[in-house]
């Protein structure tokens, strides 16, 4: 009898944990997936802004559809997409920025993020939306490139996070 009571208590406790802590999270978990690295930019003497003796062209842009984002499983709820970067080898004088170039495809609405914003090393709101949308395009930009930046290969990872 006592053992049966312990067993039922354990079942109740595990069920309570599921209902209180896990189920709400499952219900509100939007998903985000992406494609599109930007890795082909090579800056050479051909990028001098006006021939020998002139500085480097300071600004470089990716294609307008460089990165594609899909927002799913929102269950019609609003969300924010956060953006940040994690550097592997980066020169802090160079600024990496991102902007959204379209609203994608789907029943959802998307707002914000149409102007270039610098990508920091901590999360910042990039754009917001409600309901699912796919194929939301993002364009990237490098600025403040000068001859003061030593020759090297520079790399960083952009993280997009969707939050309810």
């Amino acid at each position: 009898m006592k053992k049966n009571s312990l067993y039922l208590s354990a079942i109740f406790l595990l069920s309570a944990i599921f209902l209180i802590f896990i189920l709400p999270t499952l219900a509100s978990a939007s998903d985000i997936t992406s494609t599109g690295d930007w890795t082909g930019l090579i800056i050479t003497s051909g990028n001098l802004s006006a021939g020998i003796g002139s500085p480097l062209t300071a600004t470089y842009e990716s294609t307008a559809t460089q990165i594609t984002l899909d927002i799913t499983n929102t269950l019609g709820n609003p969300y924010d997409v956060l953006i940040k970067r994690t550097d592997t080898n980066w020169h802090t004088a160079v600024i990496l920025s991102a902007r959204r170039t379209d609203v994608g495809i789907g029943p959802g609405t998307v707002s914000g993020g149409l102007a270039y914003q610098a990508i920091d090393t901590v999360d910042a709101v990039f754009f917001s939306g409600t309901n699912d949308n796919s194929t939301i395009h993002v364009q990237l930009q490098l600025t403040d490139v000068t001859v003061q930046i030593p020759p090297d290969i520079y790399s960083t990872t952009i993280t997009f996070t969707v939050t309810p």
Partner: protein, 162 residues
């Protein structure tokens, strides 16, 4: 009893595994990589005028002649780069062609350097620089022993050495 423990363990395992599989992909990443290659470019505005020695001080050596009508431009992204200069063939005996490069901003000039077929350091770029309109001064001098020398051309090559 054993069956009930196994049931509890199974339930606990499902509580740990299922949420992870359903909650995947709230973040996604993309990589950005760019390369900056070494850039060491130098150019000149043109050729100096003809350097003709045709006078001498009384009882003295022929009077050297100079030209500072040309300039050079430089872009380098490698601090410490030097600019060297050389001519394609040796000067006639008893004559000297010197060159002086104005220092790029933040750099140093080696002053007047005699040009030969061996590259000589003319200036040093302490920092990365992009600059134009830097004066080049040529001077042609000769001793009396040089005699009369027919007109000839030399090709001066300036090189940025990282």
């Amino acid at each position: 009893m054993v069956r009930r423990y196994l049931e509890l363990l199974f339930l606990l395992a499902m509580l740990l595994i299922i949420p992870q599989s359903i909650m995947a992909a709230i973040s996604t990443t993309q990589t950005v990589t760019y390369e900056i290659q070494a850039i060491n470019e130098i150019g000149v505005s043109g050729d100096p005028g003809a350097l003709i020695i045709n006078s001498a001080t009384s009882g003295g050596a022929p009077v050297p002649v100079s030209d500072n009508t040309t300039t050079y431009s430089i872009t380098t992204n490698q601090p410490g780069a030097t600019i060297t200069g050389a001519i394609d063939t040796a000067m006639p005996a008893n004559t000297t062609l010197t060159i002086t490069l104005a220092a790029p901003t933040g750099g140093t000039s080696a002053g007047a350097q005699a040009l030969s077929t061996t590259a000589a350091t003319l200036a040093t770029c302490v920092a990365a620089v992009s600059e134009s309109g830097l004066t080049i001064t040529y001077q042609f001098s000769a001793t009396s022993a040089a005699g009369v020398i027919e007109s000839a051309q030399k090709t001066v090559t300036l090189t940025v050495v990282p």
